[in-house]
Amino acid sequence: MIRLSGVSHFIGGAQILHDISLDLPKGGITALIGPNGAGKSTLLSLIARLTPLKQGEITVDTLKIGGCSDRDLARVLAIMAQSTHVSARLRVRELVGFGRYPWHRGRPGPADHALIEAALERFGLLPIADRFLDEISGGQRQRAFVAMAFAQDTDYLLLDEPLNNLDIAGARGLMRLLRDMADRDDKTILIVLHDINYAAAFADRIVALKNGRIAATGAPDQVISDTLLRDVFDTDAKISRIDGRPFVMV
């Protein structure tokens, strides 16, 4: 379980997060939604200790953020940040291979190689495994980064807008893979999604954030409503239901 209590965050003088308390149970997909600038990325990077936690407390299972080593956390939680920029020229297989780093510390063994191949296969990257990252499409690159997080083989996966750059087939394909990882591999996935319809279709829980505060949490059915769109997203788009599932009419 990821547990946040009383988490606030300031950048400069501005308060970005206001006293957030939240329990994310183990298992399933939680979608973090909210308008641009709501604080979603900030929240994710606090949980993943990439931004130092100044106020409040976060625990991931038994690990306390700020009180555990980077390495211990790297074996429990993987994060894929919103913007990924690799300065070096790496092959897809090498990138995915770095996901194993927390386990082998630079000396990959046969088990690591097997897991890397499995990750490549699962994310459909085998045909392009030997290509350089600057020789593949943005969508393929995005998938390679998710595969790297998967190869890290952690119970918790934090993904910040992984559907960026993906076309509809890529986005659906990736969400299905994540769904599969949650269902078959018991991963706990916290994912920032831009598109509420994807959240409704694939997530078990939704956490809506606005101006650094939690505006709503619950199952997609309960959370996604005309009121949510108006209060959180400031839009008067309507919700309809298709096959019993909420759907935002854009």
Binding site: S45, A48, R49, L50, S69, D70, R71, D72, L73, A74, R75, A78, I79, A81, T84, H85, V86, S87, A88, R89, L90, R91, E94, L95, F98, G99, Y101, P102, G106, F132, D134, Q152
Partner: protein, 293 residues
């Protein structure tokens, strides 16, 4: 003095020339070239930019500043003590550059080499100013323009240290490569970013200082070799560093041989030859690099 194979086998004088001068000079070229190419590649990972290398990006100038300070303040100190001061100023100089380029956007890759060149130029100007004030101008050329004509047995052995410092980085090659994913992603993988960056910087500084103290600055080896290797085989340092070392060694050796023969009996400093060739290759690389936003 010409040394032939038969002469070497029979003539003690030839043997002497070989052992005291020719062999050290060859070794010096190989060691310096290998070390420079390796540290160039590491610098590029630390700076997260293809177009910087220590010699032109402030480290070389800082190394010269260190020797200058040591020579003026402790003129009687041993060469390794001067080297120590030089390594320290190099460390400060290269760390300063990394701090300076940190806020630059990765989408504008050409800003980094620009800033680095200006930074190196400013430190170089400071060095010249103090050399002038301290009446050390005659030494300045020997630090800023690397050449191997003075290499003799007993006067190049620091370069073994430079090569060793570069060699140590191979042991942490994977960790340094992980850094290229960016600081956050590297920490997410549990990498001790500060430690690995620190070790990389230390290796760069020790290597640069040793080369500058022993031979003088040799530019572009650390730029051209890593760039060509990255194109051909990528930046996975565990595989790339040995190739970089070999190529750098070859480049400096060939540069020195050409410099000795082109205008014999006069010598063209290896730094000038490599510098001219490197500048041309560098421009070609700049223009052929695919821009990504």
């Amino acid at each position: 003095m010409p040394v032939s194979l038969s002469g070497f086998l029979t003539d003690p004088d030839s043997q002497q020339v070989l052992i005291v001068s020719r062999l050290p000079r060859t070794l010096a070229a190989l060691l310096a070239g290998a070390a420079l190419a390796v540290t160039g590649q590491i610098m590029q990972i630390l700076a997260r930019n293809r177009f910087v290398e220590p010699m032109t990006a402030g480290a070389g100038q800082s190394a010269a500043l260190g020797i200058l300070i040591a020579s003026v303040v402790f003129p009687a100190s041993a060469i390794w003590a001067k080297m120590g001061v030089s390594a320290l100023t190099t460390l400060i100089g290269s760390a300063g550059l990394l701090l300076l380029i940190r806020p630059l956007p990765p989408t504008q890759p050409l800003l980094v080499p620009l800033v680095a060149l200006v930074y190196g130029g400013v430190i170089g100007a400071v060095v010249t100013f103090f050399a002038y004030q301290g009446d050390m101008m005659q030494f300045l050329g020997s630090w800023l323009t690397g050449e191997l004509s003075g290499v003799l047995q007993g006067r190049y052995e620091l370069l073994w240290g430079a090569a060793a410092a570069a060699g140590v980085t191979w042991l942490i090659a994977d960790r340094i490569t992980v850094l290229s994913l960016g600081e956050n992603a590297a920490r997410g993988l549990g990498l001790n970013v500060a430690l690995v960056s620190g070790l990389g910087l230390a290796a760069i500084s020790v290597t640069t200082a040793m080369v500058v103290v022993t031979l003088g600055a040799i530019p572009f080896v650390g730029l051209v070799i890593p760039n060509i290797i990255a194109r051909r085989m990528g930046d996975n340092l565990r595989r790339a560093l040995p190739v970089a070392a070999l190529s750098g060694a070859g480049l400096v050796l060939v540069g020195d041989m050409l410099g000795r023969t082109l205008r014999a009996p006069f010598e063209i400093p290896v730094a000038s030859l490599v510098g001219i060739a490197g500048a041309v290759v560098f421009l070609a690389l700049l223009y052929s690099e695919p821009r990504r936003g």
